[in-house]
Amino acid sequence: MSTSNIELPAWVEVILIPILNIMMALFFAGLIILAIGENPVEAVGIMINGAFGYDEAIGYTLYYTTNFIFTGLAVAIAFHARLFNIGGEGQAYIGGLGVGLTFLLLDGYLPAIVLLPIGIIAAALFGALWAFIPAWLQAYRGSHVVITTIMFNFIASSLMVYLLVNVLIMPGSMSPETREFQQNAWLPFMHELLAGIGIEVTRTPLNLSFILALVCCVLVWIYVWKTRWGYALRTAGQSEAAAVYAGIKPKKIIIITMCISGALAGLVAVNEIMGVHHRLLLNFTAGYGFTGIAVALMGRNHPLGILMASLLFGVLYQGGAELAFEVPKITREMVVAIQGLIILFSGALALMLRPAIVRLWLAVRPGGVPKHG
């Protein structure tokens, strides 16, 4: 019996199934921890505490979350137009280049209130530009974006190494980094902002870009589901023939959507470069672009789901680091393995439990009506 076309209530689809998937992942992670002779329940406790237990932990968790929201949204919006943008990593990296170039040129001349928006725009613009080329190749030359965006990740990586080692490096420095931006180019930290309104919290990398990420969630939601452009995007994603029939130009949709996707990925640089490092450096993207694919898969390409999935990955990153620190036997690599299990069960095997749940649902409360030929 085929269950894929039987509809389940939203809460089962969006909440129950993901939670069950995570439980399964944790179960297998627990087995691994057991195998090395540690207590899995304790390990989970350390992880949760490490992610939420105190204000510094929360700050770090949300700082990681910010990156995942940007890259997750980037993958998701492209996915609605049936484009698989694997190039978030490269687009984020080049977004950083945009921030770096503008700030190196302008940070001595403009006040923060002007400079910061320019930095954000530069990040988005450069990210979009890096996505535009594969998009154009897909639309007009039929080169598949999956291939081209992967290749553009490598190109971005090489380009950045070249630029940082040979061109942008601070004169006299040994490490391939630019000079530090002047203070007016720094995105305010959350602990600074909170201190401004009288709340004292520990210093963490969490900065204003977290709010930008939340705003992007809302904007993506509005764009995709509430505007005529989103309508055109979804139409083209569902059926190219129907889009043509409806007077929508699929090529245009490919280019616009990929540019938006690239811009969202580029915003990772706002968090990392403008918010934390305050200089352009190598490999600041640290795989966030790739993890964004898992985030989008897990969040079912919906901004709310992506927010939740990003938070989960934030917890895994921060809590995982804490776990590796607290329990010597559990290494960093072990934490990566646990993350891998969660991606496996929530992403690749996301629908594994669904048929069973559908049968259970039909048995408990038969609500779905199958279609008749």
Binding site: M1, Y231, T235, S239, H372
Partner: protein
């Protein structure tokens, strides 16, 4: 055992039953899909099952084939009670099914498709030798020859369907269920299929034919059962009934036979004027070859022809989806040439509306709500937008209004487009396009896969458009439909117009011959180049 023999014998001289269903009930939530179904199918006969979409035909066959379990009731195959939990049980019981949408791997050869899942050993080459022998034999016996080494995807649909039938026979099916088998076939292919079914019947195979085409029921079946709202409302010998009685039973009310007055050469200007239009495909072969004709305002011109002779291309060119390579046409006062194209969006704006042939691929988006689908192509209109945003509330209200005007059921704009039956999807698309009060209406296959009840309404709406002085171009593979609606009929063959007839004196034989391009001196068409 002996008791059963006794009962079968006590049922006296009636012929042996291949299938007997007793009190089958199946409920999905609030919907009683099947209610107390009692059905007896005699061995070696062709039994037709008719009913509107949603009457429960597919559910009943799914129960028989093991996709669903009945809530209650009993299934007997060859007088043996049997539980069918999945399709493997069904196959073991000698039941084979040919689905409406084929279950074939396009990139496999016919032989590989037939063997798939029924290989006799792990080594494919030895099974292949056996299978080839069996299939040759089956092919000869039932006149079911299919090129075994051809790639399935390259074959015409009729041959793919034969492959499905061979698959069932290869698995020793003695009962063959065919679900809407002629929906995708040309009339010739349908005839061939019926000859095959006849041959199967002669060899003792029991055939269940599910269709909504009553003519087919009359032509080929021995017995016929009518389903309405989940119940069997009648089972009788086909020779004791007729199409209008069956139609009434299906719909549950008396149907008027539609007869519309024909307009002969109206005294109006042309809404569409096509001159020497040609279209080439990717390989440079002509899809449309020097087409010229006109459609006047207040006139319905019907394009008849076997599917695939360029009708689809013609519609798409006129709708702005494809561009002509040669020639020019004037549509509602706007001239289109290969150099100056008018796109689908602009066509809508100049009063050219298009109801596409393939409603699921073009006409609506399955995953969208009905409301969203009801503005497809009009999503940029001012009245559906508020500043940057789509005005969802107004879109829903407009959709609700369309649904009421065209009797779309259920009239719920929030329901997914794919949840509606074919007829209701079609009514929604028609409502969307007619709501624009078009000056030129292009309409393809308006009633393909649509219930009889809905056909009445759709035909009436098309006639209303003509009477409102709209120029209507109708493309359909249903000759009856063309003849019912058209004031003038053009016949297409291999991308050319090969014949013309007035609607008032059209006759089926002549049209049929024109469609096969077998009529000498047919309307000035360049027959010699096609021969």
């Amino acid at each position: 055992m002996s008791k059963q023999e006794a009962t079968t014998q006590s049922e006296s001289n009636s012929s042996p039953l291949a299938i007997e269903l007793k009190n089958i009930c199946k409920r999905f939530g609030q919907v009683q899909a099947n209610r107390n179904i009692n059905l007896q199918v005699t061995r070696g006969t062709i039994h037709g099952i008719v009913g509107e979409n949603g009457a429960g035909k597919s559910t009943l066959m799914s129960i028989l084939y093991g996709f669903y379990q009945a809530d209650s009731g009993e299934i007997l195959i060859n007088d043996q009670p049997i539980k069918i939990k999945n399709s493997r049980d069904a196959i073991a019981a000698g039941i084979g099914m040919v689905h409406q949408h084929f279950m074939l791997v396009d990139t496999f050869t016919v032989l590989e498709n037939v063997m798939l899942g029924a290989e006799q050993s792990a080594r494919l080459d030895t099974s292949a030798v056996n299978a080839r022998e069996v299939l040759q034999h089956l092919g000869d016996e039932y006149q079911l020859s299919v090129p075994l080494d051809a790639i399935t995807g390259d074959l015409p649909v009729g041959q793919q369907q034969r492959t499905e039938i061979l698959k069932a026979l290869y698995r020793n099916a003695e009962i063959l269920i065919l679900d809407e088998p002629t929906g995708v076939l040309t009339p010739q292919e349908a005839d061939q299929l019926f000859r095959v079914l006849e041959a199967l019947k002669q060899r003792g195979v029991t055939v269940i034919l599910i269709t909504h085409k009553l003519r087919e029921i009359m032509d080929i079946t021995d017995n016929v059962s009518v389903l309405r709202l989940g119940e069997i409302v009648s089972t009788q010998r086909t020779c004791d009934t007729n199409t209008s009685q069956l139609a009434e039973l299906m719909v549950g009310r008396k149907l008027e036979t539609q007869h519309f007055p024909k307009i002969d050469n109206p005294d109006t200007d042309a809404g569409i004027d096509i001159q020497h239009v040609s279209v080439l495909d990717d390989r440079g072969l002509p899809r449309l070859n020097d087409i010229s004709f006109e459609v006047k305002r207040g006139e319905i011109v019907g394009i008849a022809g076997v599917a695939g002779n360029g009708q689809s291309t013609l519609l798409e060119v006129l709708a702005g989806i494809q561009k002509p390579h040669k020639g020019r046409f004037v549509i509602n006062g706007h001239t289109v040439t290969p150099e100056s194209i008018v796109g689908p969006k602009e066509m809508r704006e100049i009063g050219v509306q298009h109801v596409p042939e393939d409603r699921l691929r073009l006409g609506l988006i399955k995953s969208f709500t009905a409301a969203e689908s009801s503005v497809l192509g009009y999503q940029n209109r001012k009245r559906f937008n508020w500043r940057l945003f789509l005005n969802i509330r107004r879109i829903r209200a407009a959709c609700k209004r369309l649904m009421e005007a065209f009797d779309v059921r259920p009239p719920d704009p929030k329901l997914k487009s794919s949840s509606f039956s074919g007829g209701n999807q079609q009514k929604l698309i028609l409502a969307r396009e007619l709501d624009q009060s078009p000056s030129v209406l292009l309409i393809g296959q308006p009633t393909r896969g649509v219930d009889i009840g809905a056909i009445e309404l759709i035909h009436q709406k098309i006639i209303d458009m003509r009477d409102a002085n709209c120029a209507v171009l109708l493309v359909s593979v249903e000759l009856d439909e063309i003849m019912t609606l058209s004031d003038r009929i053009l016949v297409m063959f291999e991308g050319q117009i090969v014949g013309t007839m007035k609607g008032s004196d059209a006759d089926k034989t002549t049209l049929g011959l024109m469609m096969a391009n077998a009529l000498p001196q047919s309307g000035g068409g360049p027959t010699e180049s096609a021969a």
